[in-house]
């Protein structure tokens, strides 16, 4: 391998290579590493005790729990939707497939603030649904259901998008073969199709989790910003920040940052896993 590399015609010389790598490293250090280091630096600026106090604050814990709830629900709904939609789109041909895919992809191309806005318009006071919801005693916006809906919305296509290329590449022959032998939907899914997509599914779920935990704009619109009730962790961080409690804000940020790093590590591991599995 080393030899073929030497033979390769395009090699820019050592200097060019160093400059290119150097520029990339400097760019990434400034834009990616520095903010992370800074979060930790401020989080621990009042020492370990200050940090501990900030992250175990009653409201911080409640915000974390709400964030987890929204994340889990978003994950469940989007996994179900992703699996079903990917199956329908890749195993069958039907009219309107393109429209369906576009609609599923739509939520991530919309600004999070606008995502929040459309839910306000749907369930808010001026909506025709509002009287019915009020009669039924259901409160969606400025309440937990709104936060969950917004989280589902902004992470909507993540799992679907990871599954489609894998299932497309796999084709439909194996499923047809199983169906011709009389296998039912669940048997085919479990025994034939699922093993192909398990890593892609897990990968999509990781991405979905990451985005769900960190969603800010859409949730911000739909939350009533009630401390301990409708504040997710990112909203709580904003609140602390605007109250000039920087240590608290950065301490809570560090929780999300650690999650983010775990997500990145999982992502790399899953990607490597998926690649080796493909080569078998």
């Amino acid at each position: 391998m080393a030899d073929t590399k030497k033979v390769a015609v395009v090699h820019e010389g050592k200097a060019g290579r160093r400059i290119a790598i150097g520029a990339c490293v400097v760019f990434l250090v400034i834009f990616l590493v520095l903010p992370l280091v800074y979060i930790l630096a401020v989080a621990f600026s009042d020492g370990w005790l200050g940090y501990k106090k900030a992250v175990t604050d009653e409201y911080a814990v409640k915000a974390t729990l709400l964030t987890l709830l929204a994340t889990v629900v978003a994950l469940a709904i989007n996994t179900l939707m992703g699996l079903c939609a990917a199956w329908a789109v890749t195993k069958f041909s039907f009219r309107g497939k393109k429209i369906l895919t576009t609609l599923i992809d739509l939520p991530v191309t919309v600004s999070p603030v606008i995502a929040g806005l459309i839910y306000v318009l749907t369930f808010g006071r001026q909506s025709f649904l509002y009287p019915y919801l009020e009669k039924a005693g259901i409160k969606i916006i400025f309440a937990v259901p709104g936060i969950i809906l917004a989280t589902v919305f902004v992470t909507f296509p993540f799992i679907f998008r990871e599954l489609v290329p894998v299932l497309t590449a796999e084709g439909t022959d194996e499923e047809e073969a199983a169906a011709l032998m009389g296998a039912s939907f669940f048997t085919i899914f479990r025994k034939v199709t699922f093993p192909h997509m398990k890593w892609a599914l897990l990968y999509g779920m990781v991405l979905c989790t990451a985005r769900a935990m960190g969603e800010f704009g859409a949730v911000s619109v739909l939350s009533g910003h009630l401390r301990g009730k409708t504040n997710t962790l990112p909203l709580y961080i904003e609140l602390l920040y605007q109250g000039y409690d920087f240590t608290g804000a950065f301490a809570c940020s560090s929780i999300l940052m650690i999650f983010a790093i775990i997500v990145l590590i999982l992502r790399s591991a899953l990607e490597a896993r998926g690649k080796t599995e493909k080569n078998v």
Partner: protein
């Protein structure tokens, strides 16, 4: 092994569209029980569509499909009693060879002991004993094909359908597998249909060949019938190694001909002789020039320039060697003459005169 009764298949006026594309255009066909039939045609001729409709993987837009006299249009593929071998084999990549073959049996709720017996019986049949714990990714192309064959046969289907069974295999192993498959199917006596675009494959393996083109069936017959009595202009051109000759009337003793007629020449109808050799029908032989000589193992293919065409002829290795550029006698025994619709076999005129003399 397999069921004793041999299933017949009948297609009646099958029509199938993909959008505007007519994949099957009034296809009618009867396949007798126990025959091994090849669907032969160029790509896009609708042969795979026919196979997939018999399997229930596609549904005809019109017409009827009958298996053993029963219309099966509305019976799902899994209840038609067929085994299907996919072009890609479609082995379940995440199940072992054992589980692949056992798949259909488990769905039929066979007891574990019987499944085991059947799987090992089939593994023995396909000569893959000891591979049961492997995954499809760990098999060679030929082994995969055998396993796919075993999986299709496991539930004892009445009909076996194979879609381009040799397409994904190396040329060398392909020849070996061809005779293996023919032997296997003949032994089982199961009604089988396979799709191929390779005429050598169809001729070698099949009892009957169905030639398809543009969604229609051109001709059904044995290899010899297709060869000697082609029914349509398409079959003439598709079967054998044919060279079209537009100006065939310029050849000696083939003077008649309409405007839109084309002569189709096969190498075995052409004899090439050295100028010094004795030629029986010298007054009806043409002069040609050797353009190329290709060694074909058992014989030589001689390419000869004649009247602005390059035609092929077969010459025995034992005959006196020719040289490129050499001036030769070319005698044409017969050729097919086709127009848009009909086929006619035309003999060299001097042959008839000669027979009269004798």
């Amino acid at each position: 092994m397999g069921s004793n009764e041999k299933s017949t298949i009948e297609l009646r006026h099958i029509v199938k569209y993909y959008g505007d594309f007519r994949a099957s255009d009034d296809v009618s066909l009867t396949i007798e029980g126990g025959r091994l039939v090849a669907l032969l045609g160029p790509s896009g001729s609708g042969k795979t569509t026919i196979l997939r409709m018999i399997a229930g993987l596609e549904h005809p837009d019109g017409g009827e499909i009958l298996i053993d006299g029963q219309v099966v249009n509305d019976i799902p593929g899994s209840e038609r009693g067929i085994g299907f071998v996919f072009q890609s084999y479609a082995l379940f990549r995440y199940l072992t060879v054992y589980e692949n073959i056992a798949f259909g049996l488990r769905l039929k709720k066979w007891p574990e002991k019987k499944i085991r017996e059947r799987v090992f019986e089939l593994l023995k049949l396909i000569g893959c004993e000891g591979l049961e714990k492997r995954y499809p990714g760990q098999l060679s192309g030929g082994q995969r094909q055998r396993v796919a064959f075993a999986r299709a046969l496991a539930p004892s289907p009445k009909i076996l359908l194979l879609d381009e069974p040799f397409a994904a295999i190396d040329a060398k192993i392909r020849l070996e597998l061809r005779s293996w498959l023919k032997e296997m199917i003949t032994k089982l006596g199961i009604t089988s249909i396979f799709v191929t675009h390779d005429q050598d494959e169809a001729i070698e393996v099949a009892d009957d060949i169905v030639v398809t083109n543009h969604g229609r069936i051109e001709q059904v017959g044995t290899a010899t019938e297709l060869y000697t009595k082609p029914a349509t202009p398409f079959v003439v051109q598709f079967i054998g190694h044919s060279t079209p000759i537009r100006n065939f009337t310029e050849f000696r003793s083939f003077f008649k001909g309409q405007e839109n007629e084309i002569g189709i020449l096969r190498p075995e109808y052409v004899e090439v002789k050295k100028i010094t050799e004795v030629v029986r029908y010298s007054n009806s032989a043409d002069i040609g020039y050797v353009r190329d000589i290709i060694f074909r193992g058992s014989n030589l293919e001689i390419k000869v320039d004649i009247h602005g065409n390059t035609i092929s002829a077969i010459r025995s290795i034992n005959e006196e060697p020719l040289e490129i550029g050499e001036k030769v006698w070319v005698f044409i025994y017969r050729m097919f003459v086709i127009d848009d619709r009909k086929v006619e076999l035309r003999e060299n005129a001097s042959l008839r005169e000669d027979s009269l003399v004798i």
